[in-house]
Amino acid sequence: MTLDVLLFASYADSAGAPSVRVTVPDDARVADVVQAVRALASGSGIPERPLVAVNHRYAAPDHLVCAGDEVAFIPPVAGG
């Protein structure tokens, strides 16, 4: 399946875009999506284990990703 992974703040700056597109196996987990993004030239600035959200909830590395899920990489938050 093809996913558009949302990037924010320093991750978006590092990739030069607010999202990147990757293709992953249909049974991919969060960790696989991270690996696929980091394999891109634009994803080389993403750390090995970023926080990841799936459908607006933090998700563990072994969380199964489905087609149509909204996947986002979350840099260290700094609200308040």
Partner: protein, 138 residues
């Protein structure tokens, strides 16, 4: 109970009014404001950037968890996004409760949760013209 990510100034008096009720004896308000210095650098403004739908969801979760933990539904949280000038509010939390200790504990717990889990980032704009994302070592 209400939470919102907003892109206009936060009206503290209206938040206070919103949670006030005759069943409560205490109202605790916390307001985070933009400071003119951070890590020794002169700051001119902060630009807040949110992953809005997730930020709304996390703030809603935090309010519901606080309501349960501290025993009051009278909670309002607003977080501002965009360019926020010195001295202006970036976040405001209002909690009313029959008793003061719970109101104060709740607002403190909420601001810590916001800082720990709501997907919002700040770009500090410095007086010298430079800028950087806060707390991301870049």
């Amino acid at each position: 109970m209400r939470t919102a990510v907003v892109d206009r100034p936060i009206d503290v008096a209206s938040l206070a009014a919103e949670v006030t009720s005759p069943s409560n004896g205490a109202l605790s308000l916390f307001i985070g404001t933009v400071r003119n210095v951070n890590d020794g650098r002169a700051v001119e403004a902060i630009e807040y950037n949110a992953y809005a739908p997730m930020a709304e969801r996390e703030m809603g979760d935090i309010a519901r968890e606080a309501a349960e933990q501290f025993g009051t539904p009278h909670i309002v949280i607003e977080h501002r996004t965009g360019y926020v000038a010195l001295g202006q509010a970036s976040v405001a939390i209002a909690v009313a409760h029959p008793h003061r200790a719970n109101a104060m504990d709740a607002s403190r717990w909420i601001i810590e949760q916001i800082k720990g889990r709501v997907p919002i980032w700040k770009m500090e704009h410095y007086v010298d013209g430079s800028r950087q994302w806060t707390g991301q070592g870049s």
